[in-house]
């Protein structure tokens, strides 16, 4: 411990942590801890809100910039396109996915213009085929955006909406052609999570197919195949 640490009047207090979270200086790991705490500690939430309120006039310095119209269109597709599946009868995982393939491709065509193009322009073309999928809600409010980089074999998932129920996990599945779904594992909680895939599954994904999320008992499906309802799904697209 340094001299400065000893003299630090706010070191270690909840008040400091709340202030640091709001001002935005914490690392990703610390921000995640704070976010987890805010889900279960209302007193701490009040501290954070006090700081948000105190510092909020600083936000007046953010200049207004009109976003392109494609953003709102993409939001509407994500929020409203998944509604149709709510009335569907229970079917096999595979049947449901075949039906959804058509629904999500429309949403995705638009989304790809918004997200994939700017993303792709940041990367040199020679690094292999990257894939994206919008996992749109299926009779739920769960949605994720998935991005797969074959170079690192990392699948990045951005959590867009919907929470898992207590004691349950979200499990991610890849489906290609008429084959049985392959589990890509339980999705860790968090706004942005990464899953590293083994090379066999990685090359499998590169052929395209569908990603789907099912609700499973904590720790994942006990059978190796989806046992719970599919809550989100979408086609993989090359970008």
């Amino acid at each position: 411990m340094t001299l400065e640490d000893k003299n630090d009047p706010m070191k270690g207090s909840d008040n400091t942590l709340a202030a640091e979270y709001v001002v935005g200086v914490l690392s990703m790991a610390d921000r995640r801890k704070v976010a987890a705490r805010m889900r279960r500690d209302d007193v701490f939430v009040k501290l954070v809100e006090t700081w948000e309120a105190k510092l909020s006039p600083l936000a007046d310095s953010y200049l207004e910039v009109e976003p392109p119209a494609t953003v709102k269109l993409a939001i509407d597709r994500i929020l409203y396109d998944g509604n149709h599946s709510a009335t569907m009868q229970p079917e096999s995982l595979w049947q449901r996915l075949t039906f959804w393939r058509g629904l999500t491709s429309v949403a995705f065509a638009l989304l790809i213009a918004v997200i994939a193009v700017p993303l792709a322009t940041h990367r040199p073309p020679e690094i292999g085929i990257q894939l994206m999928a919008l996992l749109a809600p299926k009779g739920s409010d769960v949605s994720y955006l998935a991005y797969y980089d074959p170079r690192t074999r990392q699948l990045s998932l951005s959590h867009l909406s919907g929470e898992r129920n207590a004691g349950l996990d979200f499990e991610l599945w890849a489906i290609e052609g008429q084959e049985m779904p392959i589990s890509l594992g339980v999705i860790p909680p968090g706004n942005r999570v990464r899953v590293r895939l083994d090379s066999k599954i990685g090359s499998h994904l590169s052929k395209g197919g569908i990603l789907a999320i099912s609700t499973e008992p904590a720790g994942g499906s006990p059978t190796g195949q989806a046992t719970g309802p599919v809550v989100a799904a979408g086609d993989l697209h090359q970008i």
Partner: protein, 179 residues
């Protein structure tokens, strides 16, 4: 648009009223896009973030009612926190720093200078009571979501010094605002 109007739109959005959500988007998307753009300094990523922010707003609108924040501050807090989370999580994408610096003036914008006259402007008076460099550090931590490490590099001070500076500055700021 007045605060209570935004509140009404958020309440109606929490009841999944699409028309209210559309209107809320019309009135607040430019501000929230400005937040995402300044923090992420990348147009494509800011558009993606804004999209995610409004999906969060749609699904979490009911929580605004229990928050003590003003509705616009609640919306800005969602956008700021989401953009900062993305900033921390993202792989290092090449960003043209020169372009970014040109677009994002570190001084308060004209709007802020105007607002500084009123009650909300007290925070600027309190920041001015701090040593200039420390006031600037608080401001840019807040507006750009910089980490302690980034601030320490920029101000060429050890990490612990920056941490102590910022924590003390926040305490003094709080005392000044509560005076």
């Amino acid at each position: 648009m007045m605060h209570h109007d935004i509140t009404k739109l958020i309440v109606r959005t929490s009841m999944k009223d699409r028309a209210a959500f559309d209107e809320l988007y019309r009135h607040t998307s430019a501000k929230l896009f400005g937040v995402c753009l300044r923090i992420l300094k990348d147009r494509g990523e800011a558009e993606e973030a804004l999209q995610e922010v409004f999906i969060k707003i749609w699904s979490k609108a009911d929580r605004c009612a229990v928050s003590e924040l003003s509705p616009i501050s609640w919306l800005v807090a969602i956008a700021r926190n989401h953009a900062i989370d993305r900033l921390r999580a993202r792989a290092k994408l090449p960003v043209d720093i020169a372009d970014a610096l040109e677009i994002f003036d570190p001084e308060p914008g004209p709007e802020a200078k105007l607002v500084a006259i009123g009650e909300r402007g007290r925070i600027y008076g309190c920041l001015d009571e701090l040593e200039k460099v420390k006031g600037d550090a608080v401001r840019s931590a807040y507006l750009d979501g910089e980490t302690y490490a980034e601030l320490a590099t920029r101000y060429a001070v050890p990490l612990n010094t920056m941490r102590t500076w910022l924590r003390r500055s926040l305490i003094r700021l709080k005392e000044c605002l509560e005076r």
